[in-house]
């Protein structure tokens, strides 16, 4: 029997039933143009040369695959390796994608960029490359996130971006995407939308995945060099799902590698306050793609809840939706409290303060490692650093850590 090679999406951007292009007609010309330009760029050695140059010299790739010995001892099981995306310029994996898309923007002859941001990491990464490539930059951010991530707002402004606070709906990432799409509809002739995750209409889920796959490609080679074999498992957190798909995609054909995506359980998946789209949602269409979606019985999209602004999204990338249906990836969830514990634990054991998003992956990896033996190994995508979260974690913990 021949094994079918994983080749998703199809040419129309479908991952099984998921994905596609559910956008207003006004945007169709732009997404088709983007897809064509992306295809041309992929065949152009000059594009990959420029991309690789910037990833190495500007972003600081490759990032280390760090053996977290103290954390491993704490978990008392499989070896835990951290893929240090937090060490990228701007402090998260988001820049892998924004560099690629900003280069495409310039190739399309557009000089303006719009983007959404949740935690602010994608906004900062977008504002950064726009400064570098001299592109005008407008960032939409939910009012609630502006409050939670005040410092990142100031960073974006320092970098020359205009940050627009979004008050509609839940005033978080979902609403920022709505406003960014509306802005794009009105300015599509000269503006590119740098979407920050593996969501939205085709070709975004594929293109963002491709730009982020550098995470998994490097990890695979680095782990092989250190351990002489493939890891037993890879773990990454999921909001829209860009760092996780970047980690997972290069391992999809390695059937011995188990993959775990970690959603935000917020106050618990049994409550109404979580962001666990894959665990609790059902297929729906939002922001241009079919995907698992938190929605009520009438198809109204529900608000997501997570301590982490970057995971606070009611949908999840179409490819993750497909990977769940075919059973290739296990999707788990971690609560706010578990993430907060992991946040502090990683700081104390390894001297690394992770982003709250990444702390969800760390929390799950500790549980997973504990049930595995010492010869086995796990790679955790440490998608971002936690400086941005120190303030809100302090608020949350109060004085609890003082003697």
């Amino acid at each position: 029997m021949t094994q079918k090679v994983y080749a998703m999406p199809d040419e129309k951007g479908h991952f099984g039933i998921y994905g596609g292009r559910y956008v207003p007609e006004t945007l169709m010309t732009a997404v088709i143009e983007l897809e064509e330009e992306y295809q041309r760029a992929l065949k152009d050695p000059e594009f990959s040369r420029e991309l690789n140059y910037l990833l190495k010299e500007y972003v600081g790739r490759e990032t280390p695959l760090y053996f977290a010995e103290n954390l491993t001892k704490h978990a008392n099981g499989a070896k835990i390796y951290l893929k240090r995306e937090d060490l990228n310029h701007t402090g998260a994996h988001k820049i892998n994608n924004t560099i690629g898309q900003a280069l495409l923007t310039a190739r399309m002859g557009k000089r303006k960029v719009v983007a959404e941001t949740g935690a602010g990491q994608h906004g900062v990464a977008t504002a950064t490359v726009c400064a570098l490539l001299n592109l005008d930059c407008v960032i939409f951010m939910g009012e609630e996130d502006v409050r939670r991530q005040e410092l990142n707002v100031f960073r974006m402004e320092l970098l020359g971006a205009k940050v627009i606070s979004v008050k509609s709906g839940s005033a978080t990432l979902k609403d920022a995407v709505n406003e960014a799409l509306r802005y794009w509809v009105a300015n599509v002739h000269d503006t590119h939308y740098i979407l920050g995750s593996v969501m939205g209409p085709h070709p975004f889920p594929k293109m963002v995945r491709d730009f982020q796959s550098v995470i998994g490609q490097e990890s695979k080679a680095q782990y092989l060099e250190k351990e002489g074999k493939a890891p037993n498992a890879v773990v990454a957190c999921i909001g829209g799902g860009s760092n996780s798909i970047g980690m997972f995609h290069p391992f999809i054909e390695d059937k011995s590698v188990k993959m775990f995506g970690v959603e935000a359980a917020g106050q618990g998946v049994e409550t109404q306050f979580h962001a666990a789209s894959l665990t609790k949602g059902k297929p729906g269409i939002l922001h241009g793609a079919m995907m698992y979606l938190l929605q009520d019985e009438d198809g109204q999209v529900q608000e997501a809840h997570s301590i982490s602004a970057g995971l606070d999204y009611p949908g999840v990338g179409p490819e993750h939706s497909h990977l769940q249906d075919i059973g290739r990836v296990s999707y788990e969830s971690i609560t706010d409290d578990e993430a907060l514990d992991a946040f502090q634990l990683l700081a104390k054991t390894e001297g690394i303060i992770p982003a709250l998003e990444s702390a969800h992956a760390v929390a799950y990896a500790i549980k997973l490692a504990a049930g595995m033996n010492r010869e086995e190994g796990i790679i955790v995508c440490l998608s971002g650093r936690g400086d941005k979260d120190v303030h809100s974690v302090k608020e949350k913990l109060g004085g609890r850590n003082h003697e």
């Binding site: 007609e25 010309t29 509809v185 269409i285 009438d298």
Partner: protein
């Protein structure tokens, strides 16, 4: 001849299609509003279904949707309200909804319930022709027209592809942007509408940003009529019924 074709055939004037948000003001106002619009000379009515994330809509329709959702409006309740008054309203009724509420309802179940309620057509702004197979078969099976949109950003070959599949009428979006009133129109609007008109075998109605009697007169020159949404919603909200009549009769004044 179906109800939409009939409405466009019988009229000796340019068409005027108002858009209202179902459940804005409560679903119990629906019947009165439909009867009022019909009596005032509307060719057909587009009935919006509120959605939590209306990316193609500007502030007015967003707010109307929020009001309707707060009043407990759903697609199911709207179809029920329509079926209860359908025998009193003779003009075509077109449902305008984002795709997710339909998907959640169930595509076949929706087609069946909409047909039973006497719905003549359906507009889904986030369903381009590339994805319409999701629902087009089910609608065809129930003789509900899928009304397609072309926009000022659609290149000629796309316009051709869209109008060639056309049912009911073509919804020509006059702006690169979202719904809502605006001060001026793109200088290429006339040329765009004429181009669509040339290519389309079915009536072409212009919509988005049309808010005054002058707009109605000016834009109607280039096509078969207009669709007015945000302004109608505002006027109902302010209970300015005479202004609605004036808008609709601005269209009546034009001889086709």
């Amino acid at each position: 001849m179906n109800r939409i074709e009939k409405a466009f055939h019988q009229t000796e004037r340019k068409s005027f299609v108002p858009y209202i948000m179902a459940g804005d003001g409560g679903l119990d106002t629906l019947k009165d509003r439909l009867l009022f619009l019909e009596k005032s000379g509307a060719t057909a009515v587009e009935l919006g279904i509120p959605f939590s994330d209306p990316v193609a809509d500007g502030p007015t329709i967003q707010q109307a949707g929020i009001r309707a959702l707060k009043a407990g409006t759903t697609l199911r309740k709207t179809l029920k309200a329509i079926s209860e008054c359908r025998n009193e309203v003779s003009i075509p009724l077109i449902v305008m909804t984002y795709i997710n509420p339909v998907l959640s309802f169930g595509i076949d179940a929706f087609a069946e319930a909409a047909a039973a309620a006497g719905i003549d057509g359906c507009i889904i702004p986030d369903l381009p022709i590339e994805e319409e197979h999701l629902i087009s078969g089910a609608l065809e099976g129930k003789a509900i027209e899928l009304i397609r949109l072309v926009t000022i950003t659609s290149p000629p070959e796309r316009i051709k592809a869209i109008v060639s599949r056309g049912n009911g009428y073509i919804y020509a979006v006059t702006v690169a942007g979202i719904t809502g009133t605006r001060s001026g129109f793109n200088p290429d609007l006339g040329a765009f509408l004429q181009k669509v008109k040339e290519l389309s075998p079915i009536p072409v109605l212009a919509g988005f940003g049309i808010s005054t009697p002058d707009h109605v007169r000016d834009v109607s020159k280039y096509c078969d009529g207009v669709i007015v949404g945000s302004r109608i919603i505002d006027l109902f909200e302010q209970n300015e019924l005479d202004e609605i009549k004036k808008l609709i009769s601005a269209s009546i004044a034009i001889q086709a």
